[in-house]
Symmetry: C2
Subunit: 320 residues, 2 copies
Amino acid sequence: MPNKVHAPKISCEEALCAFISSQESSSIHEINASVIDLLFLVGLGLYLDLIPLRSLVALARCDKIIIDAYTSGPKYVVEELLKILKSTGKDVVLAQRFMLEGEGIESIVWESQDKDVCVAVVGDPMIATTHNALAVEAAASGIRAVVVPAPSIQCCAIGALGLLSYKMGKSVTVVSPKNGVVYEYPYEVIKSNLERGLHTLLLLEMDLERGYIMTPCEALKILFSIEQKRNEGVLEEQTRVVILSSIGTPSHRVCVRTLGELLQKCDNCGDPPYSIVILSKKLHPLEEEALKYAERGLLNMVPIEGSREVLEQVANILFR
Amino acid sequence: MPNKVHAPKISCEEALCAFISSQESSSIHEINASVIDLLFLVGLGLYLDLIPLRSLVALARCDKIIIDAYTSGPKYVVEELLKILKSTGKDVVLAQRFMLEGEGIESIVWESQDKDVCVAVVGDPMIATTHNALAVEAAASGIRAVVVPAPSIQCCAIGALGLLSYKMGKSVTVVSPKNGVVYEYPYEVIKSNLERGLHTLLLLEMDLERGYIMTPCEALKILFSIEQKRNEGVLEEQTRVVILSSIGTPSHRVCVRTLGELLQKCDNCGDPPYSIVILSKKLHPLEEEALKYAERGLLNMVPIEGSREVLEQVANILFR
């Protein structure tokens, strides 16, 4: 890959004006490195081989790669990718939370003024984990924030289960009680979605810095404790729940159960990362069929043999 | 890539039982071609270089590739990909609608019993276009439907605008009046989302077989005509609308306007494919900032120089 040729340094405002006028004169604006500094927010997808080509091109081009290692499962994607990137001699950093929040953001933006920087995130950089603050801070400094999308659990959950995308309501994250206070918002989201006949995707809290991954059993107990307190009939014994584990990876698994079954004898269904779908009361017949096959593995999202080798071959082309 | 070694033909039920028991004995079930026949539903992403590696591996492995050419913009992805695939001597078919619906499904499933078949779709195969019926029909015949996810407009719209994913409501497609009857459902979805403080992603009807692509101006006129009829105050002069055009491609553009401005002097903002986001009345301050930069191109999702060449290099490794 050609090295970036740095433009003479100009102020942020000058850069912004120059960019805007260049954009006005042409509707085609494929990224040209010499115009302005760039911060790449790069999606890695849910597994090594789900990375889009554009993400690889961005990683190859950047001088510095910061991997968000605190919100997603490192053993699935991050560690392997780290090995590949390190073997190419790239400046790669595994970021802890403080490096991507608050003052950490300023320091990344500052670094982007000297060289192209990538922040790499498992899933999609703006969805599974929202890095909006980082993008906004960069743009405010006249640095173009380039988002490279990739498959996230938000889309993959629908595809892995064969649910219809227009039957998906708003999604929400379940978090563990903080100082004894239970966060009831997910219950309200489920209620509101159920009232409209929609499914709810629940993301489960994950904090890898302190080694915490909420299990589906834990999440369901939290939600059911809210039901017992509020008694609004949102979560009933017969409510159908889908537990998704390791979606898109070789350990991909899907379990469809009733809440009653899971409260009696809970099964996390497989290995993390986990998510849950609370099904709407009435499913489309196609969804009903698809779920059955998804549970049996006849509809799935597992890697194809040889994908790992392909990634290495491609990385070899790009990074050397 | 190694050619598929066909297992001796067994009945669908036998295959299903064999698969289920093989799955029970091992949680790792990376796809092994010799176990069972496969139908791949492969996402291509929104632009050539947004294709995940796994999709390329699937395309390379399949004997027959059927490209869904009637629901998405061929000039953006399909035509170029077709060129690359054809140059490798693959059996590639551009599918018309009838080939992927009704009896067409049976014929694809039948073909999958003899060889590995890919149905390739711009965006994500189960989201932007839902191919649930195809997956279910294959699974019902004991053929494993393997979904390969890819970036779809559903996720890319959020990322391209810097919106927060938990502020996104249910999405819906706007279709043109049929036999003079206006389909009012999108209006109801917008209303319900606005009541809950959520944004609405509108997909616009596209039928490339009859060369029809609904423009944002057309869609907004349809929606406003419903407002005038029902007069429920859902769409007002000051309602803020984002028009997205060619997201993820070199012509990527984002325009933020009020409905009043667009009704006075409509601007489609750029080239198809189009989509629209109806913003909730109250935006998070980060969303407000991000939108401003997205419109100026300082937050964007355009391809990186050299991506096209990388795709060709990778295809060369995989397909030859």
